[in-house]
């Protein structure tokens, strides 16, 4: 009997990061978790509204949380947890929940403007990231499920920002995170530590300050290459865009950089679990397939 949990995809998981979604659903299933897509989900807002008088930007994330409560009440999922994949969705939804719970004034205002929705008091939904769920399921179960351990593959984990920060929201110790390392080891691969594994990749500044984002991403990529990593793994579609998709552009500015493939952690899982149909490597840029074939993976 598998565990059925509500799952929030978010915008980019349906377009540029379809490989992230497909590999996450397939590998979760292999671990006995059925991700049930949240009905009628809407944009989470991507960035948390930090201004203390902001109410408007809570409507979108809170509406999603209300949908989770409704889904829970309908009995289609087993508990009130909401699984997210994108780091920005995780951060926005989690922080919206915390704010609604703690800030009485804003909770009251939100109820006023969302009068057609059932009231949400905060705390009814637990927003989690898939990595947390896998940690809870246990590394042993991951190891048991291995069909093709990733032996000989050197993987540099890149956490990004919002998986670890801010305080109280991050899923692991902000200064010394280990959750990615544990997963990589459980998959049979070798961990390559990079000093900048939690430094910003340039985030949304990539839109209008491409050179700044390129420089930040370059430092991260170069550390991984120099550390002898074969691939970088991460959990955020925006980091993937900055580190992967834009690698050609970065190489234009820094020609000494060698190409290094960037994979979502779920793709590594799907690969190790023998779920080739769901890995979606053809969407990754730079193409990781030649390297993986050299390493003996199909």
């Amino acid at each position: 009997m598998s565990l059925r949990l509500a799952y929030y995809p978010g915008c980019t998981l349906k377009t540029n990061a379809r490989n992230y979604e497909a590999s996450a659903i397939a590998s979760s299933k292999a671990l006995g978790i059925e991700l049930v897509e949240l009905p009628r989900w809407n944009c989470c807002g991507t960035v948390h509204a930090l201004a203390k008088d902001d109410v408007m930007h809570y409507i979108a994330p809170v509406r999603n949380l209300i949908r989770v409560e409704q889904l829970k009440n309908s009995g289609l999922v087993d508990d009130g947890r909401l699984v997210t994949l994108c780091e920005m969705c995780y951060n926005t939804l989690k922080r919206a929940d915390v704010t609604v719970k703690e800030d009485q004034e804003r909770r009251r205002k939100l109820r006023e403007v969302m009068e057609e929705e059932p009231p949400y008091s905060g705390g009814g939904v637990e927003v989690i990231h898939l990595l947390q769920l896998i940690r809870e399921v246990g590394w042993e179960r991951v190891k048991k499920r291995l069909v093709r351990p990733l032996r000989g593959l050197r993987v540099a984990p890149y956490y990004g920002c919002l998986l670890l920060r801010p305080r109280g929201i991050g899923i692991d110790d902000a200064n010394n995170p280990t959750i990615f390392e544990r997963l990589i080891e459980s998959l049979g691969a070798e961990v390559v530590e990079i000093p900048f594994k939690a430094k910003c990749c340039g985030s949304y500044q990539t839109v209008h300050m491409g050179h700044v984002a390129s420089e930040l991403s370059y430092r991260i990529l170069r550390q991984a290459v120099e550390g002898g990593a074969d691939v970088i793994t991460l959990a955020c579609p925006l980091c993937e865009y900055n580190l992967g998709e834009r690698q050609g552009e970065i190489r234009g500015l820094f020609p000494d950089l060698k190409y290094i493939p960037v994979l979502y952690f779920t793709q590594l899982m799907a690969l190790a679990f023998g779920l080739e149909d769901s890995v979606g490597l053809e969407m990754n840029n730079p193409d990781p397939r030649p390297l993986l074939r050299r390493k003996g993976f199909p």
Binding site: T46, A51, K52, R165, P166, A174, Q205, V207, V212, L238
Partner: protein, 155 residues
């Protein structure tokens, strides 16, 4: 409302140069108190807690691009000076929360940056406009990049 008074003459030139800020913003009195209170209200942070250790500035991955270091921004707000509003710093900050986890005084500096941005955005200043983005680039951008960028930087 009290008239803001220019106390330029009483500020030694070397201090002004050290701060590296424009001459026009030396003000004191009600105006500076109102500005500081507004930043504290919008950010929910107690600015006075900062003792200028510089941990935020040393950890900031983007400080190289900034004209005012994050710790300087905090100091200027403590003094009630509006200079940070007109700095590049508040728009270069990518809200990565590196400063937030480093601050030994527990100040969420990223929220202070947001408060400063909000003051400008609510005056209808836009750092980025949709029409200024190259259409070719726009097509290749994932939604997550575009939406977060415009949410942060467009009035």
């Amino acid at each position: 409302m009290m008239n803001s008074k220019n106390v330029l003459d009483s500020v030694p030139e070397e201090i002004e140069m050290a701060l590296g800020v424009s001459r026009q913003s030396y003000r004191y009195g009600a105006e500076s108190i109102v500005f500081k209170a507004r930043v504290e209200e919008l950010s929910g942070q107690n600015i006075n807690l900062c003792y200028q250790c510089g941990a935020c500035s040393s950890g900031c991955p983007l400080s190289k691009e900034m004209d005012l270091l994050p710790s300087k921004v905090i100091r200027l707000v403590q003094l009630g000076r509006e200079d940070p509003l007109y700095s590049r710093t508040i728009w270069i900050c990518s809200t990565c929360f590196e400063c937030e986890v480093r601050c030994p005084r527990g100040i969420d500096i990223a929220s202070v940056m947001e408060a400063l941005r909000q003051i400008m955005l609510r005056r209808k200043y836009s750092e980025v406009r949709l029409e200024s983005i190259d259409p070719e680039k726009l097509r290749g951008l994932p939604q997550i990049a575009l939406i977060s960028n415009l949410r942060k930087l467009m009035a």
